[in-house]
């Protein structure tokens, strides 16, 4: 990761970073010379004022160099990346859709005037129309409205699940990769066992033990997808631990904790971030699966999976009841996958 980031600025900075970093003419050549970890010694020092004033106050110039070139390169890279990404219509569409879903999750009332629980027996199983965008269900509730209010539950559950997975996974991974030895062996065998059990199956077992509801489902899914995060983090930590700048900072007298927090952790969560976006989609699918099976929120509240499940009996006769919420979930997950894939490609 560090390597790829430091090579990127080489060809990008002359065009994009120039205007951003006001002034220092040294920026261009500095980046050009700082190709690879080998050139970190003194050239980075000249670049420091241009990117961040903090480096100048730093007590150990040699150590801070790495960090300074990194954010500087990253920010420049980000702008360039955004430009390139902005020219990809698929990516833009996916992002816009995810933004829409996120907004509905926190303010579902913005997009509908109906209540999600208002039944209307007379309007039973009305097919989609301008009045009812997604049609109505078997007791006349507007499915578009229920879909939006379902976002609130599903997205929040996905966020809780992801938070659990990322925090616990990252902690375990870092601990395991950084400590090595017995701790590593022990933690990784535990993770092995967890990985051996299919995540959805484990989530099912956990939710059965915890009871029904949105939060138990979120916890179950979070624990279910956590092992992947631990494994990836560990791999990254192991890789970064051996890099020369870590060695350098150790040689410079930094404590292990300091090395961990300022060097290893920030540099290892790139792939974890990509995995997080990718696993948001997975989490949503798992949450929808569990609520499809009836483990979700208590009726009349409905998560996406509950909506899909409720239309099962009308698949042939009133397909929209299951199909439209299903397509909505599919679109959300596909968008997330597309975003994470694109980011992954950019990262290479």
């Amino acid at each position: 990761m560090a390597l790829s980031v430091s090579t990127e600025p080489k060809n990008l900075q002359p065009t994009s970073a120039g205007p951003v970093d006001v002034g220092p003419p040294a920026a261009g050549p500095a980046a050009a010379t700082s190709a690879g970890p080998g050139g970190l010694g003194t050239t980075g020092g000249t670049e420091a004022p241009g990117t961040s004033g903090l480096a100048a106050i730093s007590a150990i110039p040699g150590e801070e160099l790495v960090d300074d070139t990194e954010p500087g390169g990253r920010r420049a890279g980000l702008v360039a990346s955004l430009r390139t990404l902005g020219s990809k219509p698929g990516f833009v569409l996916a992002v816009l859709f995810i933004v829409f879903v996120a907004v509905t999750a926190f303010a579902p009332g913005l997009f509908t005037s109906r209540g999600p629980f208002d039944t209307a027996p007379a309007d039973r199983l009305v097919s989609p129309s301008f009045d009812h965008l997604f049609g109505t269900d078997e007791i006349g509730r507007d499915l578009w409205t229920r879909m939006l209010y379902g976002s609130a539950l599903t997205i929040k559950a996905a966020l809780i699940a992801l938070a659990i997975a990322v925090i616990v996974g990252l902690a375990l991974g870092v601990l395991s990769g950084f400590c090595g030895g017995f701790v590593d062996a022990l933690l990784m065998r535990v993770v092995d066992v967890l990985l051996a059990i299919p995540a959805l199956l484990m989530a099912l077992a956990i939710v059965t033990a915890l009871g029904f509801g949105t939060v138990p489902v979120a916890i179950a899914v979070g624990v279910g997808i956590m092992p992947g995060f631990a494994r990836i983090t560990r791999a990254e930590v192991l890789r970064i631990k051996t890099l020369p700048y870590v060695e350098a900072s150790r040689a410079g007298g930094a404590s292990w904790l300091r090395v961990l927090l300022t060097h290893v952790l920030p540099n290892s969560w790139g792939p974890v971030a990509v995995l997080a976006v990718l696993d948001t989609g997975v989490a949503i699918i798992y949450i929808a699966s569990l609520s499809f099976l009836g483990f979700g929120a208590a009726p009349p509240a409905a998560e996406w999976g509950t909506l899909i499940s409720a239309g099962r009996n009308y698949l042939v006769t009133a397909p929209w009841v299951s199909l439209l919420p299903g397509l909505f979930v599919a679109a959300t997950v596909l968008s997330l996958n597309h975003i994470s894939k694109t980011l992954q490609e950019r990262g290479r």
Binding site: T208, A298, P299, Y314, V316
Partner: protein
């Protein structure tokens, strides 16, 4: 020439018969189990494929005495015969394995005179000793399970059975049991070979027994497939069937399909011949079946209607009779039936379904009246407050309904109806395994239940704490005084041989159940069956189970 003529004659007769039968078939057999939707001369042979909903997850059983799963009672009906049969149209008891019977004036002794020439499928003859073995075996199972077995409510007060002579058997009760004659017609008291009772009750549950029915049980793989084979030489069908001899079909396969839509799809695509749902078909499914040239048959299941039972223990909102009365007015049963099951679906009118003998409708007391409900609640001190819900002393009027979601759809419509009256219905989804504990701890306000039997006494199985499946539900459903009243009315009806007294006791009971707010009817349970166009001779039994005697395929 003569040959040609006679052939023409046959054709003409066949046509006439077809037309006549066709006409009766068009009359639809709704509500009448006896009519056979025939369409010509029966054709022998073929395998009939029937799809049920899933097997009982907590008690996989095919033993007549122990089974309550209504799908399996259908299977048993075709494998084992009973002493008597019940006419689906009139509720009258007709001879079957017993040619005639006498009931002693005090109602304590039932003497059955058995038919000659009947054998079980293992070859043993049906005689008085075999019948005695059955009742002795049943009593043993009751003892073994501490009275919790389902057949127990059919033989209440049974003392012992005597063999009078090889073809006469006397069943003696310690107290009169007027519902026993009806009980003798049910699948639960179907007679199986005496050797079957040498097996354990578990083994019998897995199908290790022999009946005397028109089919034999070939195999039973729980929740997978149950297969029946035709019994050659069968010749003692009840007179209520058109075909009292060997079955037309060679074999029958019962599969278990969890998804209603898949089951209907299977029928429409021709993968199965009969779709047999537990929850009534949706209107859409019925249309789908009719459109694909299939036939939809239906008959309300006799016995206890789908209903909610309250928790009236002190401290719970429903301890107040006024709130229970308001609840009746808050329910809109007509809209519920129309919305969930279609415009022509019967509206429930009391604790029992309309096909139950001695049924007395309570329609007026169940009328929807939100304003009336509001008035009652106002008087009880529950005032409208935040969110349209009612509050008293800062406490919201909340009713908890634990549910397994498997039975009875549309609870969310009821929830919205109650909301209009300011009552919050909290639906708590629990697993089937958790439900008994929830009931036992009293952490509920309403819970639903039902039970199928063509006799009002079926309700004892829910409401009488001595015989109830869930003692907690029965105890919580009414105050001790009301429970005593209910028990007395059941006893009045049971311990008499006078039909008029039974009728008046059951009428009083049905009225009391609503007046005291013990039963909150939800919907009439209708047994639907979707038939492919190749199925003929369909008939319901008096308990709305499927009878295969007359069925043939073409």
């Amino acid at each position: 020439m003569t040959r040609r003529l006679s052939r023409r004659g046959i054709a003409a007769t066949a046509l006439a018969v077809t037309a006549a039968l066709g006409l009766t078939a068009c009359g639809s057999s709704d509500g009448e189990g006896g009519t056979a939707a025939a369409g010509g001369e029966p054709v022998a042979g073929g395998t009939l494929k029937i799809a049920f909903w899933p097997d009982n997850p907590s008690f996989t059983c095919l033993d007549p005495f122990q089974t309550y799963w209504i799908e399996h009672r259908t299977v048993i009906r075709n494998v084992a015969d009973s002493l008597t049969d019940q006419d689906p149209k009139t509720g009258e008891i007709k001879p079957w394995l017993a040619e005639k019977w006498e009931i002693s004036p005090d109602g304590k002794e039932y003497t059955f005179h058995l038919r000659d020439g009947v054998t079980f499928s293992d070859g043993t003859p049906l005689d008085a000793a075999a019948v005695k073995a059955n009742f002795d075996g049943a009593q043993a199972v009751v003892k073994e399970t501490g009275g919790a077995t389902y057949g127990a409510s059919y033989i209440l007060g049974l003392d012992h059975t005597e063999v009078v002579d090889p073809s006469t058997v006397k069943v003696v009760f310690s107290a009169p049991n007027s519902s026993f004659l009806q009980a003798s017609s049910t699948t639960n008291l179907a007679i199986i070979s005496p050797d079957s009772y040498k097996k354990t009750s578990k083994e019998r549950c897995l199908g290790q027994y022999f009946g005397s029915g028109p089919f034999t049980l070939e195999s039973y793989k729980p929740n997978e497939l149950t297969t029946l084979k035709k019994r050659p030489g069968y010749a003692w069908g009840s007179a209520l069937s058109e075909n009292t001899g060997e079955a037309h079909l060679d074999s029958v396969e019962f599969s278990y399909v969890a998804e209603d839509s898949v089951r209907t799809g299977n029928l429409v695509s021709g993968a199965i011949d009969i779709a047999w749902p537990r929850n009534p078909f949706t209107v859409e499914d019925r249309e789908l079946i009719t459109k694909s040239n299939g036939v939809v048959e239906s008959r309300p299941l006799p016995g206890v209607a789908a209903a909610f039972y309250p928790n009236t223990t002190a401290g719970r909102p429903l301890a107040d009779l006024n709130i229970r009365k308001a609840l009746y007015k808050a329910f809109d049963l007509e809209t519920y039936a129309k919305t969930i099951y279609g415009a022509d679906y019967p509206v429930v009118a009391g604790a029992f379904d309309s096909t139950t003998p001695f049924f007395a409708p309570q329609t007026d007391k169940l009328r929807h009246d939100v304003a009336g409900a509001g008035k009652l609640l106002d008087e009880a001190g529950w005032k409208l407050g935040e969110g349209g819900y009612r509050f008293k002393d800062g406490k919201k009027l909340t009713l908890v309904l634990p549910t397994t979601t498997q039975f009875g759809p549309g609870a969310e419509l009821i929830q919205d109806q109650l909301k209009e009256a300011g009552i919050e219905l909290k639906i708590e989804v629990v697993t089937g395994a958790e439900l008994p504990a929830v009931l036992k701890n009293g952490n509920y306000d309403l819970t639903s239940s039902y039970f199928t039997r063509a006799e009002p006494g079926a309700l004892q199985f829910i409401l009488d704490p001595d015989y109830a499946n869930s003692k907690a539900l029965a105890t919580n459903a009414s105050s001790p005084e009301t429970t005593a009243q209910i028990k007395k009315l059941f006893a009045d009806a049971r311990e008499t041989t006078d039909d008029a007294q039974r009728e008046s006791a059951y009428a009083d009971l049905q009225s009391l159940l609503i007046d005291q707010g013990v039963v909150f009817p939800w919907f009439e349970r209708v047994q639907f069956a979707g038939l492919s166009k190749s199925v003929h001779g369909f008939a319901f039994t008096s308990e709305s189970f499927l009878k295969l005697n007359d069925i043939w395929k073409q």
